[in-house]
Amino acid sequence: MNLPLQEQETPVPQWEEELAKVGFVRRLLRARKWYGADWWFVAISSVMVLGFIVVALFPQWFAPYGPHEQVGPRFLAPGDQPDLPLLIVRADSGFTSLEDLATGPDSEVSRPPIAVVRGAPTAGSLREQAALIDDELQDADTGMRLRPNIQRFDTVEEVLQSVQDGESFAAVMSSVQFEEVADQFPDLEAPTDISGGVASAGDFTLGTNQIGQDVLSRLIWGTRIALIIGFSSSLVALFLGVPLGLVAGYAGGKVDRIMTVFMDSLYAFPGLILAIAITAVLGPSVLNVIIAIAVLYIPTYYRIVRGQTLSVKQEVYVEAARSIGAKAGTILRRYIYPNVIPSVSIIFSVNIADAIITGAGLSFLGLGLPPSTADWGIDIARGQEFIQNAWWLVTFPGLAIMLVVLAFTMLGEGLTEILNPKLRDR
C-alpha cells in the first residue's frame, strides 16, 4: 500500500558519504574542506603539542640555565635586573674579585677591611658571599681564609674615599649608588660584583626562586618530566587497555562480565587517591609515577574499546565474515581496529592532558617524584610557602601546566568534532 520510499526525510549529504568512505588518516588530512574551524583547532593545537615536544626533547636549546643551577640572587621578581652589590677597588690595587682579598697565614692582614654604607643590605650580601668563599677555601685546604673586616660609613662618598685613601681594601655597594658618584673617584673601578661575575650575566625573565634558580629555566626543563609522565603513562594504559577491551568485547560471556565489573570499579575509584596509594607503597620514582597513573587510565580505553567492539561485532559484515570462517585475528584487524582507532586517538590525546594534571597533583603533594626533580608540581609546592612575597614562584609553573594541558585537550576536542559522528553538527 505504501510507496517504495526511503525512510529518511533528508538524505545524507554527499560530503558525509564521501567522508565515510575514506580512512581515518586521510579523513584528518582532508577534513579542512568540511570542517574549517575544527580543522584549524586541531592544526593549531598540534603545532603547540609539537612545540612542547621539541622543548621537552631539547630543553638546553631554550633554557638560559640548567635546572639546578643557582645562578642569581634569591627572590628576584620577574623582569627585575639583579642588583648585585659591586666590588669596588683602586684600579692599581690588582684586586679583581672578592677572592683576591683572601689572605694566607703568612699575610700581615688577617682580616681585610672592606667598606660599606651603614644600614644598606650590601653588608649582608657581602658577609654571605665571603662566608661561601671562605668555606670553599677551607675545603680546598689552601690555608687561605677570607674574613672581611667590615667598615661602616654614613655616606657613599665616605665609603669610596676610604678606598681611595687605601684605608679600606675595597668597598661593596650597589651599582646604582656607585654610578652616581663614580666621576668623582677616577682612581676607583668596579671590576666585578661580589659573586665574581657568576650571577651578573643574568637576565631573569620570570625571576628567580628561593634558592636563586632561574624560574624560566626550571619551567623549560620541567616540560620534559611532564611530557614523559603524560606520554608514557598514556601509552602504558593504551597498550593494556585496548587489548583487554578487544578481548572482553570479542569474547563476551563470563570473561567479559568479570573484567567489566573490575574495570568499572577501578574507573569509579577517585584516580588521584589510587595513584597516591600506589606511589606511597612503591616509593618515589618517575617509573612508579608512570605506573600509578597508567593504572588509572586503563579502564578508559577498556570501556570505549569494548563498547565499540561489541557494536562492530554485531554489524552485518562482521557476521558475514564470521560465517565464511574468517579468523578472529583477521576480523579484529580488518573490521574492529579501523573502527576503534579514531576513538582511541581522541582518548589518547585527552588522556595525556589528564595524566599531566594528575602527575602535577602528585608531585604537588610531595609524592611520586624525587624532590630534586625539575617539575612544575614540585615548584608550585615549594613556592606555596612564599606566596605572600613571591607570587611568581607559583604562578608561572601553574600557567605552564595549564598551557600544555590545554594544548592536548584542544587537540582532543578538535579530533572529537572531526572523528566522532555523534557530536558532529548537522
Binding site: 500500500m1 505504501n2 510507496l3 520510499l5 525512510e7 526525510e9 538524505p11 560530503w15
Partner: protein, 336 residues
C-alpha cells in the same frame, strides 16, 4: 483574503535550506488554498517538500529552513506579518500539528495530562489547574482512552493511544486547522484505519479543517476530500479525490496510482515508476518530472517549466502542471 470559504491560503511560498552545498529550495513557489472544513490530502515522496511545507505553514523553525518568499493567510490574517509572539499564540490554540512519530513527539518525562494542561494553560492562563485537568480527562475519554490513563507517561501507552493523545493536544483548544504530518506512518494497518475513522468523526464534531500530509495515497483515498500531489518541491496536481483517482492528469500522479496494488487502474502487474526523485540541490530543468516521465516531449518538457493551470474541460477545482494538458505546448516552445 476575500473568500470566507478559504481558511488558509498559501501564496507563492518558497522555503530555502542552507546546506554545505549551497541553498536548496525545499518548497518552490507553491500556492495552495485550504477550505474551511475539508480534509486536504498532501501526497508526495520523501524529500518532496511536503513536511517542510507543513512546518512552514506554522512558521516553525526547522533546521536552517527559511521562508524566503510568499504569503501565508490564515483566516484573514497575514501570518508573515505577525510577530513571533503573536505567532506563538496561534500555535496550539488555532493551528495544531500532529507529528509522524507519536513516541518521539511526546516528552518522555512528562505525564500525558501535563502535556494537555500545559498547552491549555499556556493559551488560556485564566483557567485553573483543575479546570484544565478536567477538560483534559474529558477530551482523552472522548478519544477513547480511559480517564485514568492520563497519569501515564508516554512510554506506557501504545502507538495508537499516543497518536490519539497527539490529536487531543491539537483539540485541547479547539484548533481550526490541524496539520497532520504522516500521522499514520508508524501505526499498523488496523490501528491506522481506526485512527482515520476517528479523524473523520472529529472533523465533523469539532468543525476541523485538516491538512493530511502523507506518502500513502491509500490514506488519502480513504479520508480526504481533495488531494494535492507534490513533486520535487513543487505542486504537480490538485483536485477532488474522486476526479484525481478516476482520471489522474499528471503522469506522476498516474504513476503513483498505478504503483498502488489495490486500486485497479490497470489490470496488469504492479507498476514500478522508473528513476528516483531528483536531488533538490540541482533540480532538473524544465518540468522536474521529465527525466522519469513516459510521455516526455523532447522539445518542450526538458526546457520549459509547465504552468500550474486548470486544463480545458477539467473540473472547476482541478489544477495541473503538465505540458500534456496545455492546449498548445509546441507553440509555447516555438514562440519563446
Amino acid at each position: 483574503m476575500a473568500n470566507p470559504d478559504i481558511l488558509y491560503s498559501i501564496r507563492n511560498l518558497t522555503v530555502e535550506y542552507q546546506t554545505r552545498h549551497g541553498v536548496v529550495k525545499g518548497v518552490d513557489d507553491v500556492s495552495l488554498d485550504i477550505r474551511r472544513g475539508e480534509i486536504l490530502g498532501l501526497v508526495g515522496e520523501s524529500g518532496s517538500g511536503k513536511s517542510t511545507l507543513g512546518k512552514a505553514m506554522m512558521r516553525l523553525r526547522n533546521g536552517s529552513a527559511r521562508i524566503t518568499a510568499g504569503e501565508l493567510w490564515f483566516d484573514g490574517q497575514d501570518l508573515m506579518k505577525l510577530s513571533e509572539r503573536q505567532m506563538r499564540d496561534l500555535r496550539g490554540s488555532r493551528l495544531g500539528m500532529v507529528f509522524q512519530d507519536p513516541m518521539t513527539s511526546l516528552n518522555p518525562v512528562q505525564r500525558i495530562v501535563e502535556h494537555l494542561t500545559e498547552t491549555m494553560l499556556t493559551h488560556e492562563p485564566e483557567w485553573t489547574e483543575e479546570e484544565a485537568r478536567e477538560r483534559a480527562e474529558n477530551l482523552v475519554e472522548r478519544l477513547g482512552i480511559r480517564r485514568e490513563r492520563v497519569k501515564d507517561y508516554p512510554h506506557q501507552m501504545s502507538g495508537g493511544m499516543r497518536q490519539r493523545v497527539m490529536i487531543a493536544l491539537a483539540l485541547a483548544l479547539n484548533c481550526d486547522l490541524v496539520i497532520a504530518d504522516e500521522p499514520t506512518t508508524s501505526l499498523d494497518v488496523i490501528v491506522e484505519a481506526k485512527f482515520l475513522d476517528l479523524l473523520k468523526e472529529l472533523r465533523d464534531e469539532f468543525n476541523l479543517t485538516i491538512l493530511l500530509i502523507t506518502h500513502n495515497i491509500g490514506v488519502v483515498a480513504e479520508v480526504a476530500d481533495r488531494v494535492a500531489v507534490m513533486y520535487a518541491a513543487k505542486l504537480a496536481e490538485i483536485g477532488n479525490v474522486n476526479d484525481v483517482f478516476e482520471k489522474p492528469l499528471h503522469p506522476y500522479t498516474e504513476g503513483l496510482l498505478k504503483s498502488v496494488p489495490n486500486i485497479e487502474l490497470d489490470s496488469g502487474a504492479l507498476y514500478k515508476m522508473q528513476g528516483s526523485p531528483p536531488d533538490l540541490s540541482s533540480p532538473p530543468s524544465g518540468c522536474r518530472f521529465h527525466p522519469r516521465c513516459p510521455y516526455m516531449m523532447e522539445e518542450v518538457c526538458p526546457v520549459y517549466e509547465p504552468p500550474f493551470e486548470r486544463p480545458e474541460g477539467a473540473s472547476e477545482d482541478c489544477r495541473v502542471a503538465c505540458w500534456l494538458h496545455h492546449p498548445h505546448p509546441q507553440k509555447v516552445a516555438i514562440g519563446a
